[in-house]
Amino acid sequence: MASSPARPADPTVRPGAVSRPAPPARRRAVAPLRRRLTPYGFLLPGFLLYAAFMLVPIARAVQLSLYEWDGLTVGTYVGLDNFATVVTDPRLREAFVHALVLIFFYSVLPLLIGLLLAAVLNRGKVRGLPFFRTVIFLPQVVAMVVVAVAWRQIYAPDGSLNSGLRAIGLGSLARPWLGDYTFSLPAVGFVGTWVSMGLVTVLLLAGMSRIPVELFEAARLDGAGAVREFLAITLPAIRGEITVALTLTIIAALKTFDLVYVTTGGGPGTSTTVPSYEVYRRAFQLGEVGAAAAVGITLTIVIFGINLVVNKVGDRSTT
């Protein structure tokens, strides 16, 4: 045996190892421990940074949300009062309702557009597919601030939307879109539709291109039209992609901040305020640090909850 007589045989040595030349006794004793620690060594640098600037802040956010604190003086412990405020404060309630409205514009509308475009691209042998994909995906990579500046000019009182409406004789509909109590939220939401549709389309297209062609041919031999074919074959096959698309866009909707900050600042009045904007406003403009942390935690819980529901529903309909 290779093991030195002074110590009991190393139980971790596999039978095959016997044939290898025996390493020096000292190294052999250290190696297993070192090998066991190797994974942690590789994890360490990343984990330290991640823990310090992600995990610790999460814990601190929970802690802060239990205090009433203005960011300067000593805070007072108030228990769950800040969370009660999230539910009772009309402005905060409104912010969360607005976030739900934005989900329609960021997720539901792009999903419908994406289904249409992906079906068209997948079914017809369309020329110029790479070009179209590049163009429709482009809004995803442009900084949201730039997007906001571009749409602000479109929505401006003398912007292209109003002049377009006037040109086709619908001048009565023209209005300062972002300054309108009724239309500012849909106007902001529509920008989200514009941003999301490319991502959703490309995602769904990837799913559709994996469906075997024979399925479509079989359906066509059975006399199924485009709509039947879509409902019976395409839609069930891309359920997974739809779930992913909804998850991504719903999170994007709930996290809307830059867009609101640059286009409306939550206004007019409170008509476009959203949870992220309330976090920022309360913590850094009003000095309600605890309340702001509570809004952030609530937003996180809502995001996790919706994620869970979307994925549960997506999985259940598989069977």
Partner: protein
């Protein structure tokens, strides 16, 4: 597949309409950027006014903001990349105690929104004297990028060829050698995608630089643009020119390497 002529035409109409819709806001801001800056310039006539970019660049101090953005991006991308490769290697190729729990801990960071951590980040880093420094802006983004990067690299290492690793091990290569001299070189596509995504997210980030540098000493390009907008309520030309400048770096990279962006954003979608 056979489809009728009418359906084919309808398809093209739909696609062209949406392509136009996708391009219109970007096209109109580009057009505005190249337009005459004022009525007097308009009277002189002339073609596209390229000088608007130079004017916006100097008036908006974009030289400074772009430099900051580049510094933050380089810092975040390089540190997060090295950390993610190492952590992803451990999760993807090794078995160890607490592996599952630790991995879920990393996943948490992908899903927790910045809004949840921005409040304590500001007040705690202010105590440490890190606000208004490049570190205050970069470190939180490094942490976020490590979360995604680890997830991404783990998937790559899990799919990479076990026999290559075995062969390298039999040749006497240690774990470090196998990683840096075998797996990293052949993993260039996966690494490129990760670098591009991290760069895009860092360049476009808004909330973290906004909050972490209240004095404006570490203002990145997107913030510079928002600030510039506050000053130029009337003139849309220079604002449009500035917007084009801010968007340009990522858009150019996207146009050349779009496969990576599309692939990364789609495959990177967390689904556990």
């Amino acid at each position: 597949m056979m489809i009728s002529r009418a359906e084919r035409s309808a398809n093209y109409v739909i696609l062209l309409a949406f392509a136009a819709f996708a391009l219109f806001p970007l096209g109109s801001i580009l057009a505005a950027a190249l337009g005459p800056e004022s009525a007097s310039v308009a009277r002189e006539g002339g073609g596209p006014h390229w000088e608007n970019f130079a004017t916006a660049w100097t008036q908006g101090q974009f030289g400074r903001y772009m430099t900051t953005s580049i510094a933050v991006s380089v810092l975040v991308v390089s540190v997060a990349l090295v950390c993610s490769i190492m952590a992803g290697y451990a999760f993807g190729t090794m078995r160890f105690r607490g592996e599952q729990a630790l991995f879920y801990l990393f996943l948490l960071g992908i899903m927790v929104p910045t809004e949840a951590i921005i409040v304590p980040l500001y007040f705690d880093l202010r105590t440490l004297g890190l606000t208004n420094t490049i570190w205050g802006v970069a470190l939180p983004q490094i942490a976020q990028s490590i979360a995604f990067g680890t997830y991404w690299m783990r998937a790559y290492f899990k799919s990479s060829n076990v026999s290559i690793m075995e062969a390298a091990r039999l040749d006497g290569a240690g774990t470090h050698r196998i990683l840096w001299q075998v797996l990293v070189p052949i993993g260039r596509p996966a690494l490129t995608t990760l670098v591009l995504l991290t760069f895009m997210w860092t360049w476009n980030e808004f909330l973290i630089p906004l909050v972490m540098s209240p004095s404006g000493s570490v203002r990145t390009a997107p913030l510079g643009l928002a600030f510039f907008q506050g000053q130029h309520v009337q003139g849309t030309t220079l604002l449009a020119a500035a917007a084009v400048l801010v968007a340009l770096p990522v858009v150019i990279v996207y146009l050349f390497l779009q496969r990576h962006f599309v692939k990364g954003l789609i495959e990177g979608a967390v689904r556990e």
